[in-house]
Point group: C2
Chain length 235, copies 2
Amino acid sequence: MEYQRLLADLEPVTLKFGEVLKEPGMLIRHVYFPVDCVVSLLTLVEGHKALQVGLVGNEGMVGMPLALGIHVSSHRALVQVAGTALRMKSSAFRKEFLQSKPLQQALYRYKHALTGQLSQSIACNRFHSLRARFARYLLMTADRARTREIRLTHEFLARMLGVRRPGVTKAAGDLAKRKLIQCGRGKIAILDRKRLSASSCACYRIIKRLYKKARTRMADSARKRKGGMDGTSAA
Amino acid sequence: MEYQRLLADLEPVTLKFGEVLKEPGMLIRHVYFPVDCVVSLLTLVEGHKALQVGLVGNEGMVGMPLALGIHVSSHRALVQVAGTALRMKSSAFRKEFLQSKPLQQALYRYKHALTGQLSQSIACNRFHSLRARFARYLLMTADRARTREIRLTHEFLARMLGVRRPGVTKAAGDLAKRKLIQCGRGKIAILDRKRLSASSCACYRIIKRLYKKARTRMADSARKRKGGMDGTSAA
DNA sequence: CGATCTACGTGTGCTGGCGAACAGACGACA
DNA sequence: TGTCGTCTGTTCGCCAGCACACGTAGATCG
């Protein structure tokens, strides 16, 4: 099987919350396949602000420019939910990538879905209320972390969403009053996924569908063998 | 030379304003290389609204999913400035694409720049004022149309920017008062590019730099031979 | 077990852009 | 040359989210 080579180059790593895997303009040294961690892709604005533009979990890879032959990162990649990932040196990745058609196909499909996510996010940021975007954010993160509880502060969420902190507190308060989520100090638990999804904008479902279309057995199978996954597929 | 084959498959076409080249979810039948026309990539929202997420001129291609092996469009592609383009059947394009490493490289680089444009647009839509975004839009369109005057109504611009029409009128009025632009019925002329650029957000310069990095001789040379270009490079 | 730090909750005034609506102005075409 | 349709200019009330600011409650640790 051709993934034998791939596996040999994959190295399991533990990623801590807040770790920065990539910085825009910097050389990409490794690609990461998240197993149970979640990584945010951020665009830096005016030097200080950093807005989330993409979210990568088990379904994807951090370091996508390499698949296009670009060796420099265009986003900041920030570990948003700690966990494990499989890591590979850029050189090894390029070598495998050029040799394996299925890997190419899988990553091109993923790239396409990621592009769709970006496009949708532009519209989302233009038209949708903070509350809807906040709900979408929670759902997308929970899906990728495969957990009901998210350990993030309002302050952090505000940065990701590009809004003020009290705005997040208010949005969270609203949803908590309606028993869709439950807030604690530095953590948010989803109580009612279904109704939370109804409170979020359609972007959540649209993006979910994009990744569903893009998914292939390949990436998952590589992870299962090496990463000790639980075998359930990402939502 | 390997572009000889490429040229044989390229067919010059005239594109009228308002023409829709692609519709999301539809099969991609042709790819287009704009010569002196400008094409907007739109994301549809809630069925009726359509927000501009990308702009394609001489520097790029319409139908990029094909370069990733995806045969279905993800955006609406709308001709925003009439003009000519070189068109190629999807099947011919795939064939050439798979055979030509330089073509692959050029398009992957372009794809990377386009991704950067999307990322930047997310931040732009979140943080920047209508006036700044309006100025950016004018500059980007003018750059690609290679003209000082843009023939678009406020109504149309409002749709592209995802705002109300009076909002555009106000933004245009502001800039006109300061002699940066001049408004006529259904047309806007840029009077002072430099100061207009200063009024736009940094996104304009950031995106410009992205495309500058991505540009290669290749795409231009193909166009020059067949398209009768003037030889100046896109701004 | 008290000090301190971090995170959450709330308030006030402000503004950019929204929705709707109307009036004036240019231009094409009869 | 008048008429009509399209495009532009402006207005009014409204609200989400901003900037700034202050108070309070869990956590942590000496």
